[in-house]
């Protein structure tokens, strides 16, 4: 098992954002967690990465990592592409990417992969990242995550704030990553996109998993369609 979390909770003071969740992800699998605003999706990812404190067990490649700090988790190959992109705005595109290999990943090899996947980043490598368009910044954020040669790539709402045509481009790129055999944990509000893309899905509501299963099946289930897809 690539990733397995048991009875996993994240709280901020008295507010429990994630309530005792179980979730797993096999090698080369794409799993998505969907849910509305405030369902606890981002907290779940931050908790898995160790950026916020969490209770419960996390196994990464069958090793218990719940006690090790985030910097070590990155070193082990758990890499997050955070919500809101969080690129380094006044550095150039290439400087951003190089920092992606700070803890792991061969700069030369990963740069080649990233530039092949996102030729636009290659064209703009000398540009200041903060001046890129929203879609380009998202590609840069994904590129930076790839620079760390992830074993598991966690993406937090990669379609947030992007035009539909750009969202399609982002998902095309994610499809390429899937082909490369990277395990992906994808978090989305855009349930239709995410369910169509993933192998398996968890639906989160108020910090709890309410439904889980094969994402294509969920996509065709009436109750899910009504509640989460608005169709």
């Amino acid at each position: 098992m690539m990733l397995e979390i048991n009875k996993f909770s994240v709280s901020y003071g008295k507010i429990e954002a994630v309530k005792s969740i179980n979730l797993n992800l096999k090698e080369k699998e794409v799993v998505t967690v969907v849910g509305v605003n405030g369902a606890g999706k981002s907290s779940l990812l931050y908790g898995i990465c160790g950026i916020v404190e969490a209770k419960g067990m996390i196994f990464f490649e069958d090793q218990d990592i719940s006690k090790i700090p985030y910097s070590k988790r990155v070193k082990n190959g758990m890499i997050l592409c955070p919500e809101g992109r969080r690129i380094f705005p006044s550095l150039s595109v290439e400087e951003n990417l190089r920092l992606g290999s700070f803890s792991r990943g061969n700069i030369k090899k990963q740069l080649k992969i990233v530039y092949e996947l996102f030729p636009k980043l290659n064209e703009r490598k000398k540009q200041i990242a903060g001046y890129l368009s929203g879609g380009e910044q998202q590609m840069l954020a994904i590129g930076r995550a790839l620079m760390g040669d992830p074993k598991i790539l966690m993406l937090d709402e990669p379609s947030l704030g992007l035009a539909p045509i750009i969202v399609d481009q982002v998902y095309l790129a994610l499809g390429e990553l899937k082909k490369l055999g990277i395990s992906i944990l994808l978090i989305e509000q855009n349930a239709y996109q995410a369910l169509s893309f993933a192998d398996r899905a968890y639906i989160l509501e108020n910090g709890k998993v309410v439904i889980e299963g094969d994402s294509k099946k969920l996509l065709n289930e009436d109750s899910v369609r009504k509640a989460y897809l608005g169709i």
Binding site: K75, L91, G130
Partner: protein, 314 residues
């Protein structure tokens, strides 16, 4: 007149490098951790006092400076790890208030331990001043441009140390981590940078440069509890002037500030002479001039003369 202008520029460069190195330290801490360190000058002052004590005990100025600077680094780590621990990431204003508290505590501590008597810190070296005469055509009165040897040495040392720190931030791995953390904390975390480490590093580097600058000015100001209070303001202005967005900007901001200050003083001098005002000595207006420069910069170009490369959210 040309000689006087060149003379002002020379003096300006010399004091500007000192403003620059203090501005660089402030900028390191501010950009990385988001705290304007009001205790910067006084932290440097405490370090110089510690160094002075070592000097008295061992008679070795090199050892004194080394211990003082190392003490500064430890003090920085202490500020980050102990004083800021509870409020870090919660509120920038609380962190600011803590630095204000530290400012007062350090001043009091210095008074209690070392007293109010200014203590002498001898020049590390004594280099004779150099006189430069411009050709007769440009210089009808045959006045020399004076280059004080020690000031020139201080200028070179301050510039060298600042360049070293700037290179450190551009080339080395911990330096790059510092930049990344300054740019975006979550961004830094997700590439595996330990931000607790970078914060301590910024504090340690910042305070130790303040101590170092303190040693450079100590022969002139003497060692006393308020020796760096004004310098902190100058350093702050340098950083505002250079636009906090880059470390190199803070240093160059300091240099420009120094030159500007001396030129304004020269200009005022001429005005006072012209209008026969003898009650004001323009050198006494140094602090006012610097404060005016902060205000004017903030009104005209709040991002500093170099501007931010990218205008992000504030």
């Amino acid at each position: 007149m040309l000689v006087r202008i060149l003379q002002s520029i020379t003096f300006g460069l010399f004091s500007g490098a000192l403003y620059g190195i203090i501005g660089l330290g402030l900028s390191l801490i501010y950009r990385t951790t988001g705290v304007m360190n009001f205790a910067h000058g006084n932290s440097g002052m405490i370090g110089v006092f510690v160094g002075w004590t070592i000097l008295v005990l061992t008679k070795s100025p090199i050892l004194a400076i080394l211990v003082g600077v190392l003490f500064g680094a430890l003090l920085g780590i202490f500020m980050d790890k102990i004083l800021m621990k509870k409020v870090k990431g919660l509120s920038h204003s609380s962190m600011l208030i803590i630095t204000l508290g530290v400012l007062l505590i350090f001043e009091g501590l210095a008074l209690i331990i070392w007293g109010t008597q200014p203590l002498l810190f001898k020049d590390l070296f004594s280099i004779p001043p150099k006189l430069i005469y411009l050709p007769q055509k440009l210089n009808p009165d045959n006045f020399p441009i004076i280059i004080p040897g020690n000031d020139f040495a201080n200028f070179l040392i301050a510039t060298f140390v600042s360049v070293l720190i700037i290179l450190f931030s551009k080339i080395t791995k911990p330096g790059l981590a510092l930049i990344a953390r300054a740019e975006d904390d979550i961004g830094a975390k997700v590439v595996g940078i330990d931000v607790n480490f970078t914060d301590s590093l910024a504090w340690a580097l910042g305070i130790s440069t303040a101590v170092f600058a303190g040693f450079l000015v100590a022969p002139k100001t003497t060692v006393n509890p308020i020796m760096l209070v004004n310098f902190q303001l100058y350093g702050f202005t340098a950083a505002v002037f250079g636009g906090f967005s880059s470390f190199i900007g803070a240093f160059i901001g300091g240099i420009i500030l120094g030159v500007l200050e001396k030129l304004v003083i020269l200009g005022l001098d001429q005005l006072f002479i012209k209008f026969g005002i003898s009650s004001i000595n323009s050198v006494d207006l140094q602090l006012s001039i610097i404060l005016l420069i902060i205000i004017v910069t903030l009104i005209i170009k709040p991002t500093g003369i170099f501007g931010a490369k990218y205008k992000g959210k504030v």
